[in-house]
Amino acid sequence: MNEKTKLFVRRKFEEYYRYARISIPKDFWMREWGFVFLDHYFPEKLVMRRHKSFATEKELANYLRENAPAHAYHSAAIYKYPAAEMANKGWLGADLIFDLDADHIVSETELEQYSYEDLLVQVKKETEKLIDFMLNDFGFQEKDMELVFSGSRGYHIHIGTKEVRGLGSRERREIVDYVMGTGLDMKSFIDMQEGHSGKMRGREDLRLVPEGWGKRLLKGLIDLLHEIAEMEEKKAMEKLKQVGELKDKNARSIIKIAKDDTVMERIEKGQIPRFGKQIWEGITKAVTKTVRVKSADRVDEPVTSDIKRLIRLPNSLHGKSSLAVKPLRIETFKAFNPLDDAVVFGDSPVEITVSRNSSIKLKGETYKVEQGEVVSVPEHVAVYFMCRGVAEI
């Protein structure tokens, strides 16, 4: 991004912040803030100005207006001394933050194959699963959950109730494990009197307790078996071997079950036949894979157990996309399309010089640009390409 382009983007960001209605987070004066400016280091080097704090909303609004930052963050945590150095801040608690980003969900090698639009669709699916976990398993109220489009390739959920504020990182880790299905043991949901005598019940069916993951496993199992029953034998074998990592013999017995109406009837009622161990494990694997909130197994998992991290300020702009970090309502989430609804800039034509091939679909129009071209595009497209490093003014 050359200096002229940077100046243009900065003017546009300033315009935005002049009128923007920022969502001020709860207890904002106890939070640490951090910003990246459109300065001469940008975007090669992102210099984060951290350990800031604001005492009044006005002070914060002025700061944003004056500096029109490329990226704006606040801490998930609240502190006694938010502007102090990390060690002296005096941690008082932290919101529970979920950060679902496309590159946590799709592995690096696959990332290339997906377009930006596809990635957004993928990540939205995972977010829907996460919301379901939050509402039904964890019992959070919609009003306590702030759902936000990240401005780039993901969604954040902030939960700031008194209840969750005090959770330490190990407790948060358990919540991460829950939504990702880590350490899941299907046997925990089987109601068998294994207790003191060590004896199991007779030969009759097992009951899968339909609570929490038990409910998800049962539903997942039924769906999987239905899917299998409809497939051709060969396809079904392949699928089972792949998702369940099962051997031929075991895969075959599952297919047999799937096609047996009387057994299926019992399963739908929550009565599970006594499968062998391998079959159990295979089924658990297969079901878990579709039900859990996905995350490539990296350190950056969807819910962060880091209780000191920074998170994007809702309604600020994302300096790598020019899209808004947009707060959303859960009821209307299904209909949300970031490439339409998070666009903030206008339509007046701007002439740009393209430095790299690229394409994007914004507000329903597809724009395809080629290196070396000089084209006139609507302002929101121009700013987008500039922020992506695809074009200069």
Binding site: D137, E171, G212
Partner: protein, 368 residues
Amino acid sequence: MTDWHAEPAHLCLYPFLLAASKRVEESGVTLENLISSAVFERARLRGKSRITEAIKEGTIRKPVIISDTQAEMELLSYPFARILVSCIRDERLVRRYALSEAKAAHEKLLEESSRRGSSASASANIIYRMSEEFGIRMDFLAGEREQVQVPFVDYLRFTTNLRDKRWKLVNRGLGKGKLKLRKAEFVRIVQEAIYERIKKDLPLDVPEDICKAISRYTEDIKHELEEMRNAAGYGFELDSGAVVKDPSCFPPCISYVLSNLKEGVNVPHGARFAVTAFLLNIGLSKEEIIGIYRNSPDFDEERTRYQVEHIAGDKGGVQYTAPSCDTMRTYGNCVETDEICEKVSHPLNYYKYKLKLKQKQEQKQKTE
């Protein structure tokens, strides 16, 4: 229904409760009195035995209370025990002591909370009482005496130290923010809460002159402690007192886990598996191995027995072999290696190698 926690005879069995410390405060017994007055010698001796029992048995016996004086002595023995532990200033002892107190209380709670028939309401009462005491919100399920419901936030507060899979949140039926627990499971969580509370401000900051004044008690305890550690360090002592296998030849990975178990530190599942398999492979009996786990904070005899038997191949399978060094490394169970580790690729070979080495050395010494 009597308010049991107001009765000294009952209260003294749970001396870490807020009501208990309040009672001690209100009794007017000063620290000065407690550490020196002849009247309280019984309390002091009991305080000492709390700790020696912790050292020797890993739990603290609950006496049968027959008189008010005895109840008072029992109650006062607890603050005195805390002073003693604090003067000794040994972190491992603090942990062991706190764990023993918590376990003893757990056992008592379990007994009281599982009473049926006419005492059923008292048994529910004790559950309510503990939930209030430790701020674990709880309610009984409608029409249920055996299961309670707890918000996940309160559950997490006290369970992240419990390593067994069944305690993982993901394996609990979580619905609308709450999860169900059998009464016994609830009491198990209370044990964690008790442990945390007891350990929290230990060691206390006891002035030097007070520690000096009670050194005749602390010296005895230190002696016991040393004896226990020597015994543990030297051989693998069995109930019978015979030393069969030579733990001085165990590889670092195994010794490490064993010492953690001895200290009551939680050991992850994978490491437990490795140790169990290792010990079975070198010929320890199942009972001996179960005995080793007895100290572990989430010891559950049934489950341990089941697991040990499973690894031993009693469940119709073959006996498992201890994992190789490669596998140990993968799961982060290979700790501080030594020179011998470089020569072997399996913990069992480490043991055999070192055993031979030792025998050779001993023979050499004899012939010299």
